[in-house]
């Protein structure tokens, strides 16, 4: 009962802040709402007993990436309100198309979840850990990342490395 109350309160706040992020007039306000949004998502992780993920969420998103957003927003210094877009009708059509795609995706997920609900549950598919690993999900997460998901993990690291090298190459005219 208490869990449900906490979850729905958090979910409502997250959605509300999400709407504020895209409706805020000033880019800096928008970024501020985004930070609060990320903090609340971290709180959601805590309610799921995923402490490690919650802390990483705050550290990486709220503490790192959004600081960079703010940095950029302040550098470009948007003082004026953004001008109205010229062709608002075309944008509206694109928006409706995108919304339909997302809706289809949500329906598909809901359908898949309802057909699966009788059989395998999420907890049933969880891997069992070797003995000796206990006490906190940090160890478990590390274990899973470096055994079962080693190749995706390494691929993601290589992708980040490529992005980093690319950024340096683009930023530096003469190397």
């Amino acid at each position: 009962m208490l869990d449900a109350v906490v979850f729905y309160t958090l979910a409502a706040l997250i959605l509300g802040l999400g709407i504020l992020v895209i409706t805020a007039r000033s880019a800096v306000h928008s970024v501020l709402f985004l930070v609060m949004n990320f903090l609340l998502i971290a709180a959601l992780y805590v309610t799921l007993n995923a402490e490690f993920l919650a802390v990483i969420q705050i550290m990486v998103y709220a503490g790192g990436i959004v600081v960079l957003y703010l940095f950029v927003v302040m550098l470009v210094n948007l003082k004026r309100d953004p001008e109205q877009h010229v062709d608002s009708r075309r944008l509206g059509r694109v928006g409706i198309a995108l919304a339909l795609v997302v809706l289809a995706e949500l329906v598909a997920i809901a359908y898949a979840a309802s057909t699966r609900a009788g059989g395998a549950t999420v907890s049933g598919s969880a891997k069992s850990f070797p003995p000796g690993i206990q006490g906190g999900n940090t160890e478990e997460l590390g274990w899973v990342l470096y055994t079962d998901y080693l190749i995706p993990f390494e691929l993601a690291s290589v992708l980040l490395l490529v992005a980093m090298v690319g950024a340096i190459v683009l930023a530096k005219r003469s190397l």
């Binding site: 800096v28 802390v55 705050i58 709220a62 503490g63 600081v67 960079l68 940095f71 006490g135």
Partner: protein, 332 residues
């Protein structure tokens, strides 16, 4: 009910008061130590040897007029000092002042990461305060602060990982206990990490010689130029609370936390007469003294030098230290 709400609440009240009082006296200590370093007397008028200056300053700040610049972003201007102070105080909820559960508010599994994460939120206060003032020096200061914090946070976090490898846990109580098991402070096992975290800590708390976001001589005080009265003092409180946090982290990670010196040498067992939390606070104050000492001694770095040190010196050393620690962990 009693254990879940009342006892933690009492601890929080005691802790917050202790922090705020020690911050006011820390300001006095800073003025006194710098004065002695410069062959002056420092504050002498209020109370014996200026001791009551610590109480006079907050009263003055509370009574001062609170000014909001006309063209400032009022909402962000108001919230910025709060966003700067709250994370600095929240961090103390996981700092263990002793082994007994009486001496910490909560003991979470990812304590160290929690500290790193929450302190990284604190920078928003500085960035937004400078931006919302709608004034050019504070804005420059905000840009400096954000760049500086991001750069040094990476170095400090990578360095902390090597200590976590040595300890085998992220839990702060566990890290201190690991030092008891090892029989030696991690400061001796990880001297490079010790120095790196200390330097990074100086930079993250905007202390000399890295206080570029404040740099009175170039930026007229930096992000808090437009703030006055109590709002200014919130920034001030946050800065000093952060200094205490960094000192506490260094004490926990490298100086044996609440343990007496030489924990495994029988000759020095009489040190154990003094309770652990006094050792802990004593060690913190030694570090705070070093912070102030450095401020009195060193000149400020230039901004490009600061970035060079962060990215080209500290981060490579931190990575190297991490690799060596990993190899040592596998070999031994």
């Amino acid at each position: 009910m009693l254990d879940t709400f009342v006892v933690p609440l009492l601890k929080i009240v005691v802790l917050l008061n202790a922090i705020l009082v020690s911050v006011t006296f820390l300001v006095l200590m800073e003025r006194k130590v710098i004065a002695w370093a410069q062959s002056r007397l420092g504050p002498m008028r209020v109370g014996p040897h200026g001791l009551l200056q610590a109480l006079a300053d907050p009263i003055k700040l509370i009574l001062k007029e609170d000014i909001t610049p006309a063209r400032a972003d009022k909402w962000v201007f108001t919230i910025a000092p709060i966003m700067s102070l709250v994370p600095a105080l929240v961090v103390f909820s996981v700092v263990p002042f002793g082994f007994d559960p009486l001496f910490y508010v909560s003991d979470i599994n990812v304590g160290l990461l929690f500290i790193v994460a929450v302190t990284s939120i604190g920078v928003y206060g500085i960035i937004l305060g400078g931006w919302a003032s709608n004034s050019k020096y504070p804005l420059l200061s905000s840009l400096r602060a954000s760049a500086q914090l991001i750069s040094y946070e990476i170095a400090v976090t990578i360095t902390l990982v090597s200590v976590v490898l040595t300890a085998g846990t992220l839990n702060l109580v566990g890290i201190v206990e690991a030092q008891r098991d090892a029989g030696v402070w991690f400061g001796f096992l990880q001297p490079v990490a010790f120095i790196l975290v200390f330097i990074g800590g100086l930079a993250e708390t905007n202390r000399m010689p890295f206080d570029l976001p404040e740099a009175e001589t170039e930026l007229t005080g930096g992000f808090h130029t437009e703030y006055s009265g109590m709002r200014f003092s919130l920034f001030f409180l946050a800065e000093y609370a952060n200094v205490i946090v960094i000192s506490a982290v260094v004490v926990i990670m490298f100086m044996g936390g609440w343990m007496a010196p030489f924990p495994n040498v029988p000759v020095f067992e009489f040190f154990e007469i003094i309770p652990g939390w006094i050792w802990f606070i004593g060690k913190i104050f030694v570090l705070l003294y070093v912070f102030i000492w450095l401020r009195a001694t060193l000149p400020r770095y230039r901004y490009d030098q600061l970035m060079n040190i962060g990215w080209k010196v500290l981060i490579p050393i931190a990575l190297g230290n991490l690799v060596i620690t990993g190899i040592a962990k596998v070999v031994f």
